[in-house]
């Protein structure tokens, strides 16, 4: 039915958008963590905890992508003249 299909499209489109934003944040956080490590001054404990947090984030993203049947490519929205989001 047309209405059902539209609802599914909307849900999938929304999931795509939300997950893309989460992935964007994850990448930003990863970059920030890398900068902090390179800047130095982090204790071994802090590095371990940062790494664990990033790993957990990445794992959660993989789970979410699988739940919604989306690949990394699906999340790389093309914003035309602004380039790709990721």
């Amino acid at each position: 039915m047309r209405v059902e299909a539209d609802k599914q499209d909307v849900a999938r489109g929304l999931a795509q958008l939300v997950l893309t934003l989460i992935e964007l944040l994850r990448q930003l956080m990863e970059r920030q963590a890398i900068r902090r490590v390179e800047a130095g001054g982090l204790s071994a404990d802090e590095i371990e905890r940062l790494g664990q947090a990033l790993m957990a984030l990445e794992q959660r993203m993989d789970e979410l992508k699988e739940d919604f049947g989306l690949t990394t490519e699906d999340l790389n929205l093309d914003l035309g003249p602004l380039g790709r989001l990721l």
Binding site: Q27, E30, R31, A33, I34, V37, E38, A44, I47, E48, R49, L50, G51, Q52, A53, L54, M55, E58, Q59, T72, N76, G83, R84, L86
Partner: protein
């Protein structure tokens, strides 16, 4: 309405008009002094970016480029009628002449550097946080170094460069280089050599192409 392919010079465009435009339309040229635009008439044409149409657009531009200097327009540039096109050439004359001079005798080469093992799993069940993070740092450094190396080597062989993307998860670098036609061979050779020296990455070079990335006014 009219579909516009490129801006060039009167002497050049006259000989390039044997090509057919989109949908088999006749190519026409509109001249205003030392500028000329190449376009075709259409009753209605909303070019969705279908591969065939884009390739056709590119073929027309390459045919013009074979006979002289060309400023390629983006795929899908349409105007209502010739008068608007004439006004455009007049209003932006100086800027367009500067752009023509900038790309004269040069071609564009595209360089794309991507991680070689993008889809490899970055963690297993027993990976420690420290190892994971330090691996990410190493990877980031390698990619940064690759970008610097590419700029140093290929930038030296180019008149200009334009970076489209860098430092994302999927790409290390996507850039365009404006290269004098006499140096295209050397550029490709150096790029090939460079590709072998960048660990953990793959490089794809495209071109020589019409100067799509350098047609507009540089800031």
């Amino acid at each position: 309405m009219i579909y516009v392919y490129a801006i060039s010079e009167p002497t050049v465009t006259r000989s390039a008009l044997k090509q057919r435009g989109l949908g088999g339309a006749t190519l026409r040229t509109l001249e205003r002094g030392d500028l000329a635009a190449i376009y075709s008439h259409h009753r209605s044409l909303s070019p969705a970016p279908l591969r065939k149409l884009v390739l056709h657009h590119d073929r027309v531009i390459k045919a013009i480029m074979a006979t002289g200097t060309v400023l390629p327009l983006r795929f899908g540039t349409q105007l209502e009628h010739e008068e608007q096109l004439g006004d455009l050439l007049a209003a932006r004359h100086d800027e367009l002449r500067r752009s023509l001079e900038r790309v004269r005798g040069k071609a564009e080469l595209g360089v794309r550097v991507i991680p070689a093992h993008a889809s490899a799993p970055r963690r297993r069940g027993d990976t420690k946080g420290r190892d994971y993070l330090l691996d990410r740092v190493r990877s980031h450094r390698r990619h940064q170094q690759a970008v610097d190396d590419v700029h140093a080597v290929l930038g030296a062989l180019s008149e200009a460069s334009s970076v489209r993307e860098t430092g994302t998860a999927e790409t290390v670098l996507v850039a365009a280089y404006l290269v004098d036609q006499s140096r295209v061979g050397e550029f490709r050779l150096q790029a090939e050599r460079l590709a072998g020296r960048l660990p953990g990455t793959r490089m794809i070079v495209t071109g020589p192409l019409p100067p799509y990335s350098f047609a507009e006014q540089q800031r």
